[in-house]
Amino acid sequence: MKEINAIFTIALRDFTKLLRDRTRILASFIFPIIFIGVLGGSLQANLSSDVGYNFLDFVFIGVLGQTLFQSTAAGLISLIEDRENDFSQEIFVSPISRYTIIVGKIIGETLVALTQTLGIIVFGIIIGVPFGLSNMISLFPAALAAAFLGGSFGVLVLANLGAQRSANQIFPFLIFPQFFLAGVFNPIKTLPPVLHQISRMVPMTYAVDLFRSIYYYGTPEYDKVVLFDPLFDLLIIGVMSTIFIVIGTYLFVRNERNK
């Protein structure tokens, strides 16, 4: 029970910090809006008739999965920031499990990512993406799964980075290639063999595909857009998250103490 209370406390702290940082809230909307509005809009106007489905919708759903994954991953890196302004010492001397700290952090950053996603959904609806309450409900489990996968990916990155500065420099290199390999804006149904292999190995692929497989379920576009069955995506996300969290936490704690 004590550990559960601690998880909630750590999570609430991250969420409280987001609510008090208005610049961060605004900044988090800018990229998704550019991606959906500019990329989605232009691709829709030029390519849509060839691929046989609406590109704006395609990009919008992809960006939802990508934002949840990326925002949570980036949020986990803030454990390094804590370490640098020394708040993490307070967390690390407290008598709670190291896994509690990581899980609390992931849940907190999931809440942060969900808040940001809400803004993107509002923008999508304004520009005419068919997205209703039923979609929101059916995609909610996918949102949690995508955020959890992103969070555990963040832990693994965190465990291998020394300082906030190197984290900020290296993180984009680990995230941006995944945008394209996961097919956030580009169809990846058919790819050259090597790209195909890599694309099926990066974690973001499954977060994005889970979103699309649920959103397009039972529609004529399903076969053209979706890679895997939603349950298969969920299974891969579960396996990847578990591996990332276990190895990541182990390495993080070891690196923290073994200086």
Partner: protein
């Protein structure tokens, strides 16, 4: 382990990964329950390293550490429950209010269940916050972000926070560094009051001699080794030896005479004679060469401390 030792450290060694030398080099000591123990040393002596190992945030290289009856390696969680830590760098979350910082700590230590807002917290917690706010003189500010607090206030808040889970030992890592003299004084008054009321064991690191003098026992650490350990007055006695300083226009004759009379001396600017177990009058009577300079000198504790640190440092460089 004797029952009243609350901290036991045996042959503790810490060598950082990227370093060739041991930051803490085979130190052993114990602290009794209720004792105020100070680790005194210059910057880089190994104080923070020692405290980081003792508070479980840094893994040691070798040695045995036992805190409040728990082995550091086998029961880190129980060790963490038994201690409160004031870090060298402030460890408050600047984005949160003082009350939120306290709440965060209280829930992490399992004192109260989690509730999302202050209003929903149990009555006992609210009363506790009221009490702490009064104690700190922060009745109005307790719900304000701590960004607005002064350095001294933040330190006090950290101490108050570290006390709410009633730790058996409080570790303070240079708690007054960066504070102005007035905040420092008031912080010490507060700490002494806490100690009297809670009977908590205090483990302090400092590079201020006058802070170490308040302790029951002091351990002087330099280059990762314990150089001296004992009560402040005992250390004072050991370190501050009276010396007799003499000189003569005929320096060679004076030197020969001192050697002939088997009086040990050190030739600095003048001739320094250690007066330990000796009588100054007898020494002077034994000198026939006319003296041009004569006085006795008792070094201050600070001079003695600097001297011991200097000697140690030079000695180690020689190795």
């Amino acid at each position: 382990m004797p029952k009243n030792n609350i901290i036991e450290v045996r042959n503790l060694v810490k060598k950082y990964k990227k370093s060739k030398i041991n930051a803490v080099d085979d130190i052993s000591f114990e602290v009794k329950e209720g004792e105020f123990f100070a680790l005194l040393g210059p910057n880089g002596a190994g104080k923070t390293t020692t405290i980081s190992v003792l508070t479980t945030t840094l893994a040691k290289t070798s040695g045995i550490v036992n805190i409040a009856g728990f082995d550091l390696d086998q029961n880190p969680s129980q060790v963490r429950e038994s201690i409160g830590v004031i870090f060298q760098n402030p460890s408050l979350d600047k984005n949160l209010t003082a009350e939120e910082n306290i709440r965060f700590h209280a829930i992490l230590y399992g004192l109260y269940p989690f509730r999302p807002t202050f209003g929903l917290m149990p009555k006992a917690y609210k009363n506790k916050v009221d009490e702490l706010a009064k104690l700190l003189g922060l009745e109005k500010e307790i719900f304000k972000p701590i960004k607005t607090y002064s350095g001294g206030m933040k330190r006090k808040l950290e101490i108050v926070r570290s006390l709410i889970h009633k730790p058996k030992i409080i570790f303070l890592d240079e708690p007054t560094s960066g504070l102005d003299p007035i905040s420092r004084k008031s912080l010490w008054e507060y700490l002494m009051k806490v100690r009297e009321e809670e009977k908590t064991t205090l483990f302090l690191t400092t590079h201020y001699l006058e802070e170490a003098e308040k302790a029951d026992r002091v351990s002087i650490i330099n280059n990762g080794k314990i150089v001296k350990i004992g009560t402040p007055s005992k250390i004072k006695q050991d370190l501050t030896r009276e010396i007799l300083i003499v000189d003569s226009k005929k320096r060679n004759a004076l030197r020969d005479e001192l050697l002939k009379n088997k009086i040990k001396f050190v030739e600095n600017k003048h001739f320094d004679i250690d007066l330990k177990n000796k009588n100054a009058q007898k020494i002077i009577q034994s000198i026939k060469v006319p003296l041009s300079y004569l006085r006795t000198h008792t070094p201050t504790l600070e001079e003695a401390y600097l001297e011991i640190i200097r000697k140690e440092t030079n000695g180690n460089e020689g190795n």
